[in-house]
């Protein structure tokens, strides 16, 4: 038995098989090129296992090409807006996404600024009418341009990064967003820089209104932060593209068109946020732990961490369940030891000798056998032998 012989023996086998199969291939009406392919694939698979040195292998075995080190995806830390913009450069929808970003970002912290508008401005005071009206444009927005959906998709795509950036920015602010809006703007502006000034300008027009009415409308419970992002984000994405529809609705209100759009948007934000809060039940639906965390930690997009923390909390019950299962009485037929034995046999396919036997003898617990024409695979190497004698005790 020798390992050096294996290469030649296998080569011989391959040649024999290929030659013997040529007739079969022709009879099958298959292109003979398949045989060459078969040979190549066969040899390649053998070489990959490095069972031995094969004649078809080039003497110095070329090391497998090292996978190109992937440039780590830029995970922008807090001040990451510029890299993000750069990474988005190739994407045509970048401006849109950033528009939505610009619109959404103020939301979590800046809702207080929106709400005052609802209550204070007489022109917009028509809440009952508006409540029904906004919903229609919203529906209309959904059917709007595909770009809209792309914006949403992209937002979700970039969600994590953005969240990191915005969270850090918003972290500096009091959780309830009672701080002056001027603080938010500077923080948010770097991101939307490239997009046309249109959207940027409009929100700013309303700044003057907000401070006046800013604080009084804090109907929100201590932990408004947890639930808000979802509605506000949806609105944000839709707003970027939906102005036309809103404009039509706005007509009856007698508002000037440009102003009306943004105002309605803000109203929508406020209303939806208020509803979300109402549904939230003042934080009743939040796990206590999460509510505390959201308060202390981050403002908006921490929704994801939140749920993650939640499950960990609930892992306890699950574990208990598993333990319960373990304690359940299992059939003796499922004796794990038996399975282990069986698996061992199957898993040991690597350590195997396949051969013919001439003689197998046993005296008490001593066995002797004479084997021949075998292939043996041990420790990742192949050996072939013409004759083998084995002695072992049981």
């Amino acid at each position: 038995m020798s390992n050096a012989q294996v290469g030649n023996v296998y080569q011989q086998i391959i040649v024999d098989v290929i030659e013997a199969s040529r007739v079969d291939v022709e009879e099958g009406g298959v292109d003979e090129g398949v045989l060459e392919e078969l040979k190549k694939g066969w040899q390649k698979k053998l070489s990959q296992q490095q069972l031995a040195v094969f004649p078809w292998d080039p003497k110095p075995e070329p090391p497998p090409p090292a996978p190109a080190a992937q440039a780590p995806a830029s995970q922008p830390p807090p001040a990451a807006s510029p890299p993000q913009a750069a990474s988005n450069g190739g994407n045509y929808s970048q401006p849109q996404a950033q528009v939505t970003q610009g619109l959404t970002m103020p939301m979590p912290g800046g809702q207080s600024t929106n709400e005052p508008q609802v209550k204070s401005e007489p022109g917009v005071k028509i809440e009952p009418g508006l409540e029904s009206a906004p919903t229609v444009p919203q529906a209309g927005q959904q059917g709007g341009p595909i770009a809209q959906q792309r914006v949403i998709a992209q937002l979700q795509h970039q969600y994590g990064e953005r969240a990191a950036a915005s969270i850090d920015k918003l972290r500096a602010q009091p959780p309830n967003g009672a701080q002056p809006p001027s603080q938010q703007r500077p923080g948010n502006q770097p991101a939307p820089q490239p997009y046309p000034g249109q959207y940027q300008g409009n929100p700013q027009q309303y700044r003057p209104n907000m401070p006046a009415n800013a604080s009084p409308q804090q109907q929100r419970p201590p932990m408004p932060n947890g639930q808000r992002p979802a509605p506000s984000q949806m609105d944000g994405a839709a707003d970027g593209e939906s102005h036309v529809g809103v404009l039509l609705r706005q007509g009856p209100d007698g508002q000037s068109t440009e102003m009306g759009r943004v105002e309605i948007d803000n109203l929508l934000h406020a209303q939806i946020a208020a509803r979300a809060r109402a549904m939230e039940g003042g934080g009743l639906m939040l796990p206590l732990k999460r509510a505390d965390k959201g308060k202390g930690k981050s403002v908006s997009y921490h929704r994801t961490p939140g749920p993650n923390e939640g499950p960990s909390q609930y892992d306890g019950p699950d574990d208990d369940l598993e333990e319960f299962d373990e304690d359940a009485i299992n059939s003796d037929l499922d004796d794990p030891d038996d399975n282990l034995e069986e698996n061992d046999e199957d898993d040991d396919a690597g350590q195997i000798m396949l051969c013919m036997y001439d003689k197998v003898q046993r005296v008490k617990n001593k066995w002797k056998c004479v084997l021949k024409d075998g292939v043996l695979n041990v420790n990742g190497k192949d050996y072939v032998f013409h004759k083998a004698t084995g002695e072992y005790e049981w």
Partner: protein, 114 residues
């Protein structure tokens, strides 16, 4: 070894056999060959490896170990050995293994259609 004789499919489990089987599988998956042809090729392999092992290989080997399980069924011996030491007669090379399984078909010409 008459050509009409059936050969053991035993060696298909070897590394060279599984390499062939995998390659054939790939070809079948790509619709390059049909399974019937693959079976014929595998039958050719059965014969080729048996003949080559019989005719070309001259090396000998001895091994010792402790027998963990043995089984004899349908003229096939199956041994599970532990702490095995293989000694090559020629090179004096020694190989040890914790566990080795031996599957061995009878070398007698009768009834060897496995």
């Amino acid at each position: 070894m008459a050509t009409a004789q059936n050969f053991y499919e035993l060696y298909r489990r070897s590394s060279v056999g599984t390499a062939l089987t995998d390659t054939l599988d790939d070809l079948i998956t790509d619709h390059r060959i049909d399974p019937q042809l693959a079976m014929k090729i595998l039958a050719n392999f059965d014969r080729a490896i048996a003949e080559v092992l019989q005719d070309k290989v001259r090396s000998r080997l001895t091994f010792k170990g402790s027998l963990h399980t043995y089984r004899f069924c349908d003229e096939v011996w199956t041994f599970q050995l532990k702490n095995v030491t293989f000694k090559m007669e020629n090179g004096g090379q020694v190989v040890s293994a914790d566990k080795v399984k031996i599957v061995s078909c009878t070398a007698k010409p009768t009834g060897n259609a496995a």
